[in-house]
């Protein structure tokens, strides 16, 4: 058990990075505009991220498992470590980096190192979703924003009451967003371990039974929560205050749009529901919450005819999108070499 935990530590570190960084995508606008206190945000986020991971985390994790079927726990450890280091480094630079890109880059690094054929079908599905998710969020944000504007205008809600409504809505939507984040992004944290972690079924007081994967996801959820509490504050203020001068209502629309998109790409139940009616469904793929939230911000920007978008910061984020998978792939390749040859661990 103890060696397993040591190997899982890199995944937990990655979870911490995700909490430090991606939780800001859900709560940054709310906390950055001072509508929700950081402590409240962190608490709600932790609870719902963990619930999302345990209840709905398996779909997207399965896709990550297929992209690189990492068959040795030492390899999984190294891949997760490489992704985590890349995310940590970029977080340090204050860039809203995506854990999704980092882990996919690191898996590609493993594929290259082990000489395993890259599963291009899965890779294209993931890459496609990277493009599609921000665009979809932008579309949602655009329409929801207009709808909300009409409602506010027609309802003539008092500024003070609107403030109260927005604040409560931000917490509700933030909880939904955290759930979606946990459901969708736990794949990035623990997806590489699902085939190698030796956990049996765990029965908790005869009430709940957690499968091996769910125990992994629970650990991942806790790691994310620690990341949220210890390191996400600064990134939240970057997202909320620097990228776009948001009104709280606009912030709410961005988070709601992004949460819907993350949920669409994570929910097995919704996928089955849509398919049962012969409707097109969304692939269960880990999508980047960073890309999604930026899509939402752009959607609002377009709705307001492009006012106030800070293009320089947008450029830095775009640079991070390209840099993070590349950096992660290189770090992963080098780390695998070191772990195998210096520490004599099996990585393939």
């Amino acid at each position: 058990m103890f060696p397993t935990l040591i190997f899982l530590s890199s995944g937990l570190f990655l979870g911490w990075s995700l909490g430090a960084n991606d939780a800001a995508n859900v709560w940054g606008t709310a906390v950055g505009t001072r509508m929700v206190r950081f402590k409240s945000a962190a608490l709600v986020c932790s609870i719902f991220v963990t619930l999302g991971a345990i209840i709905s985390g398996s779909g997207a994790a399965h896709t990550i498992g297929k992209l690189g079927a990492i068959n040795a726990i030492g390899g999984a450890f190294t891949v997760a470590l490489a992704a985590a280091l890349s995310v940590y480094w970029m977080t340090k630079l204050g860039l809203p980096v995506s854990t999704t890109q980092a882990i996919v880059g690191a898996i590609i690094g493993w594929n290259l190192y082990s000489g395993t054929q890259v599963q291009f079908d899965e890779l294209y599905k993931i890459l496609g979703s990277w493009v599609f998710s921000p665009v979809l969020t932008a579309v949602f944000a655009f329409f929801i924003f207009h709808l909300v504007k009409v409602i506010i205008r027609k309802a003539k809600i008092h500024l003070i009451r609107l403030d109260g409504l927005t604040r409560n809505s931000l917490i509700l939507v933030g909880a939904f967003g955290s759930y979606s984040l946990g459901a969708n992004n736990i794949a990035n944290v623990m997806g590489v371990f699902t085939t190698t972690a030796p956990f049996g079924e765990l029965d908790i007081g005869g009430l709940i039974t957690l499968s091996g994967a769910q125990q992994l996801f629970l650990l991942g959820g806790i790691a994310i929560s620690v990341g949220v509490f210890t390191y996400s504050k600064r990134v939240m203020y970057t997202i909320g205050s620097e990228l776009y001068k948001m009104t709280p209502v606009a912030a709410l629309v961005v988070v709601l749009s992004s949460s819907i998109v993350l949920y669409l790409f994570a929910s097995k139940g919704l996928k089955m529901f849509l398919e049962s009616y012969g409707l097109p469904s969304f692939p269960l793929v880990p999508v980047s919450s960073s890309q999604s939230i930026v899509g939402g911000v752009i959607g609002i920007g377009i709705a307001k005819k492009g006012r106030n978008i800070k293009y320089a910061i947008l450029g830095r984020i775009l640079f991070g999108w390209i840099a993070s998978p590349v950096i992660a792939a290189v770090v992963s390749f080098i780390s695998l070499f070191i772990v195998q040859n210096v520490f004599a661990q099996r990585v393939i």
């Binding site: 505009t33 001072r34 509508m35 205008r153 809600i157 008092h158 009451r161 403030d163 109260g164 006012r307």
Partner: protein
Amino acid sequence: MKLFSSKTKEVETDIDKYLEKIEEVAMLFELALKDYFEGKIDRFEGKYKEIDNLESEADNLRRDIKYKLYSYLLIPDARGDVLGLIENLDNVIDVAKKVASHFSIEMPIVFPFLRDDFIELTEIAVKAVMELVRAARAFFKDIAMVNDYINKVYFWEHEADQVEDTLKRKAFRSTEIEKFSVRVHMRYFAERISLLADEAESVCERLSVYAIKRSV
């Protein structure tokens, strides 16, 4: 959640009451000055006292709103603007009270040929204040309407300037007023009354910026 909604309701009511106080002050101001111009000095003094009391009540409300906005942590993004607006609106009440007090203390002699102009100037200045209150109310409840009311304030302020100008010219060109000091006194009071419209306009300048910020 319920506690929170009761707090918002409380502040909402306070803001509504505050705006009502400004309207009351403006209406009383008009009635008080009309009484003065018609020589009903006792009635004028009574209304001046009422204005004085309303000013104190508005001050208390203003302090309450300020305290509650900060202690309940409401509207963090627009708090500064709302307080700015409330403070600026307070200047309008202050001007009304001061002008009335100047009348009460200095007791200027208003010549009959200037009476109608003074009454018209007072009515117009009060109209500017009433439109300002509507603009402020719209800022809270119907942001799209703010500019319509602001434009009306600008219109009345401009009208007030013109009536003030006419009044001053009449005062200085008339042969009925013999002493130069009395002419200056007339000019001074015309300017004081018109100051009410000027103050309404200056609040609107700020209000239009707050409105733009809210709509972004």
